[in-house]
């Protein structure tokens, strides 16, 4: 058996290490949960499976999940691609700032974004009222239902496409573009026939990430779907969980199985799309930017106008809520206050603790999943086989399920003391970290795999012939070529993990809160203004960290900071 894993001892070690990691954080919890679906309480009983899969509402919800996920993926892909091309492939002025601002929505809690849009387009909208366009009071809200869910999730997930594609553009061979230019090809033609096909794996990876995120998204469909009676699978799962029926976990397990099946569709589509062209490139690369020339001002104005809408709307709403004395009051001279900021900064004891916890969790998760992603990506791209594919799918699934389901699965496995070690992770920060490893591995993996698909195997083969061992080949040939993608994956994971809520909402314990949990607790206690103030602080602090990284960019390899042009 061991022989079949790989040709050399180091390859076997690589496979065993990956199996151990993915098995522990991802396969074990999900398998334990699924067991509850087919064998509740340990006895085989397909009754729940049959009743859940036999219910028409299950299939209606699955259909709606698929429809909203596909539509939102299309929106996210168009928006993310447009911005990635502008920032990564053109000579647009100020494009680093453009990329920087485009990433900010990743740090705004998704319910804040959804509520901001609900307010902006609803009957009470201050903007629409001024323009005389506000819908009549009492009419259905334009965002409730299918199109609203698809649109808002599309905006929400566009940065995922942006980040993966941006990383691939950083290693685009400039020679190919130069040759096309010399042959007299126009800019659009270059983008259509060279840039996009060469980035197809990344584009497919970004779209797949947006698709999987949409399938597992609960917050947006809950806010925009429930009022319209439009339930997707994650909302059905939450209904089961909110009912506290003894069989709830089993039913959730079956519904999760269905979500997993939908996610596999996305994975299959991604594989199909990225295998269509051979875009591997063996020569060293030089950057070559596409000159925008006379069209530059048009692009500049359009891009910033779109950003103003997509980023400014949620950000202004967040800031306005954080600065007002009480939720619902108009922001005016006599209602503006900094008291909310003062309270969360100086009086709310949990803030500092949660900030440290989240900072640690996000950094550790980003670091570990990027490292694991480098090795797992190697196996997925160059040692493709049943085992490699199984590992990739196992890395993918935890992200396609709502966070609460992953948290339940983690409790089922990690509550009891670990075998051999005899200590339990439960009630510590480590159980959150383990769940984060499972949840966010795919974000790094997808980005890295897309970059590997651009690398020609001849480079590594040459090194192998020259006698370089596996670790050396990965360290000196592959890693330098894929560095922008590895960094993009790590940054993506860091930004998302820093604000994570749904997993930690079940797994935190006294002293081990995360920022997401503190924001959620404030919100639930009716303190929306305090919750907004804390969210603003998180956005500002993260933006400051990103700005610091930009200052240090000259010392970093080119293309490592995903927002830099």
């Amino acid at each position: 058996m061991l022989r079949r894993l790989g040709a050399t001892a180091s390859e076997r070690a690589l496979f065993l290490g990956l199996i151990a990691f993915v098995g522990a954080v991802s396969v074990a919890p999900l398998a334990r949960l699924l067991l509850e679906g087919v064998a509740p309480g340990g006895r085989l009983d397909l009754g729940i499976l049959r009743s859940v899969l036999g219910a028409p509402r299950t299939w209606l919800a699955a259909e709606r999940t698929l429809a909203t996920a596909l539509a939102s993926t299309a929106i996210a892909t168009v928006l993310g691609t447009a911005f990635a091309l502008l920032v990564g492939a053109t000579d647009l002025r100020g494009k680093s700032a453009l990329g920087f601002v485009f990433l900010l929505p990743l740090m705004i809690p998704s319910q804040v974004t959804a509520i901001a849009w609900i307010n902006l387009l609803g009957p009470a909208s201050p903007l629409l009222k001024t323009l005389g366009l506000a819908p009549a009071p009492g009419t259905p809200h334009p965002l409730y239902g299918f199109s609203g869910i698809a649109e808002i999730m599309g905006l929400e997930h566009a940065p995922l496409v942006f980040l993966t594609l941006r990383a691939a553009l950083a290693s685009l061979p400039g020679e190919a573009i130069e040759a096309a230019e010399a042959a007299g090809a126009r800019r659009l033609r270059i983008i259509r026939t060279i840039v996009l096909p060469m980035c197809l794996p990344a584009l497919a990876a970004g779209a797949a990430l947006a698709f999987i995120s949409a399938i597992g998204n609960f917050g947006t469909p809950a806010l925009l779907g429930i009022p319209a009676g439009y339930s997707v699978l994650t909302v059905l799962i939450y209904q089961e969980l909110a009912g506290f029926a003894p069989a709830a976990i089993s039913q959730v397990a079956v519904l999760s199985l269905l979500l997993g099946a939908l996610a596999l569709l996305g994975i299959a589509a991604e594989r199909w799309a990225s295998g269509r062209h051979d875009i591997r490139w063996a020569q060293p690369r030089t950057r070559r930017l596409i000159p925008l020339r006379g069209a530059a001002p048009v692009f500049l104005v359009t891009a910033w106008a779109v950003l103003a809408l997509v980023v400014a709307v949620p950000l202004t709403a967040l800031l306005a809520t954080a600065l007002v004395k009480a939720y619902g009051l108009p922001l005016a001279a006599d209602t503006i206050t900094t008291e909310n900021f003062r309270y969360v900064l100086t009086e709310h004891a949990a803030t500092a603790r949660a900030a440290l916890n989240s900072l640690f969790l996000a950094s550790a998760t980003a670091l570990v999943v990027a490292v694991v992603g480098v090795f797992l990506g190697y196996v997925v791209v160059w040692r493709d086989g049943v085992l490699a594919r199984a590992l990739a799918v196992a890395a993918e699934l935890p992200y396609a399920l709502p966070g609460v389901v992953l948290a339940l699965a983690a409790i089922l496995v990690f509550l009891r003391p670990l075998p051999l070690l005899h200590v339990s992770l439960y009630g510590t920060l480590w159980i959150i970290l383990a769940a984060y490893f499972a949840r966010f591995l795919v974000l790094a993996l997808r980005t890295i795999v897309a970059a590997y698909r651009q690398i020609h195997p001849s480079l590594e083969e040459a090194a192998a012939i020259a006698g370089a061992g596996l670790w050396r080949r990965i360290g000196t040939i592959i890693l330098p070529l894929a560095a922008p993608a590895v960094a993009a994956g790590a940054v993506l994971v860091f930004l998302i993990a820093l604000n994570e809520l749904t997993v930690s909402a079940l797994l935190w314990s006294a002293g081990h809160e995360t920022l997401g949990v503190v924001v959620f607790s404030l919100e639930q206690g009716g303190d929306s203004t305090l919750a907004a103030a804390l969210s603003v602080l998180v956005v500002v602090a993260t933006a400051a960290l990103m700005a610091l990284a930009s200052l240090a960019a000259r010392r970093l390899p080119e293309g490592v900071l995903p927002w830099q042009g």
Binding site: P123, P227, Y230, F244, R416, A505, S509, E523, G526
Partner: protein, 325 residues
Amino acid sequence: MRLTTTLAVALACALLSAAAHAQSGKLTLYTSQPDRIAAETVAAFNRQHPGITVETFRSGTTEVMNKLAAEFLAGDPKPDVLFIADAVTMEGLKAEGRLQAYPEADVSAFPAAAYDRDKTYFGSKLITTGIVYNTAAPKPQSWLDLLAPAAKGQVVLPSPLYSGAAAIHMAAMSAAPALGPDYYQKLADNRAIAVQGNGAVVTQVAGGQRMYGVLVEFMALNAKAKGSPVDFVFPKEGVSAVTEPVAILKTAKNPEAAKAFVAFILSKPGQELAASQGFLPARNDVASPPGFPNAAELTILPVDMSQTARETPALKERFSQLFGG
């Protein structure tokens, strides 16, 4: 004489230390109380029982109950005390044999409806559901005002598919003779919309998205006290109520400390604390907080908790037929 005094003192010391020993150590509390309220409650309890270290897990009711369900399944439930939204949920746990009776609990000052007959769970307060309205709209008086043409498309209510309190509210409304069993049908006909929970209701009404909401009183009164443009009405037909019960788990690792906690919640100081936090106390010898009508003037629509626990699936089914989902 001196000998007896010494003996008496020694005996008293021994008893005291035994009592102190019995009520010390770690107490694990799972609660869905808002953060600040939970912290105040624990602090007040600790002033009486400094020897007990309380570890609190606080989250939404759904999150708390699912964490607990997973712990049951994994075979090692952690909490000693559970302090959550409603009696229907407690009925479910009682039926599964998860709760421990506390027969010595002093319930003499409580109305019989406030606690479980078998003394496995005890209501700590009355959280009533009435009508919140945006002050830009005319003040409603009755539940029937939500069916008027002026309220068409203007009513938002928490969905019983996600909230136990909302399920109890639906049961109470449907059983009230003044409103009739088809009250929810009429609400749906008047284009009322359902949202996930109470928090979303107050956001919509305070933000002016909808003018009227079905909401628990303390959230509305808190928002009003902070200056949000909302007010709250106890409609004339009456209000539904949940009791935020407290219970000891059968698997409690520190049952003595758990009993001390429950006793504190039910004690007069514990109930006065709840009143000072803006809740209607369940004890009849503690005054209501400002903003509430006198207990005598308040009509609580009756609900049979164990019957509601059994009928909840049918109730949810009817709701999702009316409102979708």
